[in-house]
Amino acid sequence: MSAGDVIVQLLSGLASAAILFLVAAGITLIFGAMRIINIAHGSFYMYGAMGMTTMLALLPDGDTGFVVRLVTIPILVALLGAATEVLILRRIYNREHLAQLLATFALFYIFADLARQIWGSDYRTASIPGALAGPVTFGSYTFPLYSLFIIGVALAVGLALFVLLRLTLFGWRVRAAVEDPELLASTGTNVMVLSTAVFALGAGLAGLAGAVVAPLITVTSGMDANILVAAFIVAILGGLGSIGGAVLGAVIIGLFQAFGVIWFPKWSSVIIYFVLIMVLVLRPAGLFGRVE
């Protein structure tokens, strides 16, 4: 491989990592603050993508419409997440983990069926906005401008999450909830409202991932399950509850996938599982996770 090929492959891996990070960040946030493994998280990703393909009369077309959708859809998905948390999940916090897992599993199927009722079974597409549609060329090599945009969105979200969790009162409370939720509650913090906010934020991140990736894929039922496994691997690899872990986990998985298809083509579809097992053997709680 030439240096140019390596750069293209590296950027491709980082573009994959960007989407995985956006979805995994939500999973790890929710688990960290609420100790819930949300199997329905992929549904929020799918709804974000479906929303992007939906032409609503109120939203303009073209580049402006793209920006409006990109801002609106994650908010709508976050509201869906909040409603889910308030109406359903809040009632099972005190139940055993298996019951919580089954509840989110049931939600996964309900959301999938609802999506089929709303958008049908056939696949849907969205277009890349004109301003982001071209390639970036360096020498004889080409890389999609839109993929660079996706990397940029992930970087911006990562930075925003860092600021939110490290430098704001909300972030302090979320990190306190991760460390010791009972102690946090004793300080007078309304942990229920905090849980709703965290769940909504996690759902919104997944919705943003779906909205951002929609122009690059065919949006169809089944995409909720497809992203879920990879996103969970990233979250577990990085350590459930750790945003920094989600970043590193996503980059590791993205790059292993990118170079794995070249170096180990026969194993490319399972390489991420090898990586996960290797990391867990060495660090059972993930890279930045802590054994409870």
Binding site: A112, S121, T125, P135, T142, L216, I217, G222, I262
Partner: protein
Amino acid sequence: MNRAIALTTALVFSFAAGSASAQEVAIGAPMALSGPLASVGQRALNGLQMAVEELNASGGLLGSKIRLVTGDDAATPATANTITRNMVLNDRVKAIFGGSSSATVAVEETIAGQYKLPMMIYAGNDISLTTTNFNDFAFQMQPSTFMEPRAVALYLARANLKRVFTISPDFSFGHSYVKNFLEGLRENGVQPDVVGEQYPALGSSDFSTYIAAALAAKPDFVFVGLFSGDLVTFIKQAKGYGLFDKVAVGVSTATDTVLTLKGETPANVTMWGRAPFFAMNAPGIQDFAKRHHEKHGTWPSDWPVLAYASIQIWAEAVRKAGTFDGPKVAAALNGGKFTSILGDLTFRECDHQADAPVYIGRASKTVDARYGFPLLEDITIVDPNKTMMSCEQARSLQKK
């Protein structure tokens, strides 16, 4: 009192049996209506429903109305097994029409054989369906994974390919597709270096690393065995990498692709398909396409055409047999020649493979004003007799 109870019980059971009344016959169509192949299932369902509606509107079949029973197998063999058995045992279907993927069709085919029901295979074309999984009741309407890639290899024989890269889905169909394409090239005197063979998972949403790997390998030709939604995703992503400007590429499910991408279809890419209506002259095909467009707001891809034809052919076989009885209908299909919107098809006795051609051409640079999508140019219709597996070889692979 006992008589009343007995009568009531008989009445209840006759309602609860779920079977067709004397004037109604059920046929079963398990298919993917969710998951990565939902588009295949949904599009095929449109064709099946149109065929059944039109059949019933013209008086039904042998004096009976036809009732279409469908079920969502999500392209999962275990679910296909349950749904198909349900159709056979509860709905008492008289025929099975399948499916959405070769993996589920294999299961449905086995059940059809167990219960001696004729099965028309309109989607799912792995060669195993007519060889290792063969039974007396399933009939393959499309070119198999032995034939279709060989047709492409024959088409490319003069291109003097030196370096070939393949990308195909990671299940039986995908591997068979590539194997037979490479064998087809060699059979036609082309001995390229295979500079990469990639098998992404079915339903992948990210092909970027595979595309980058293909470009890094610097092939003359990229053979893409992906289909339907996966293929559209692949093309959308590959355009960003300039793949189609740098390398000759060949892709399948031509009609599905141009219908979806429309003006975004990359020009000059080699495309092939099983039933591109715009390139076909068979009786009734253009009329069917217009009716499909009026009813569904979209022109038909291969799947509704094949599915519609499957009902046409089965109905003709039932008329020939004079009965819905499975073994008799299968006997009528076996070796028989049938006319449908696909044209004339004959099912070979040795493996029940129809002599179905492959249509290959290049995507036009311009969108056709009639249809709103680019058509294929310089179409070659590859003679199926040049690509079919010999009966001798097919029989040697079939279970005794």
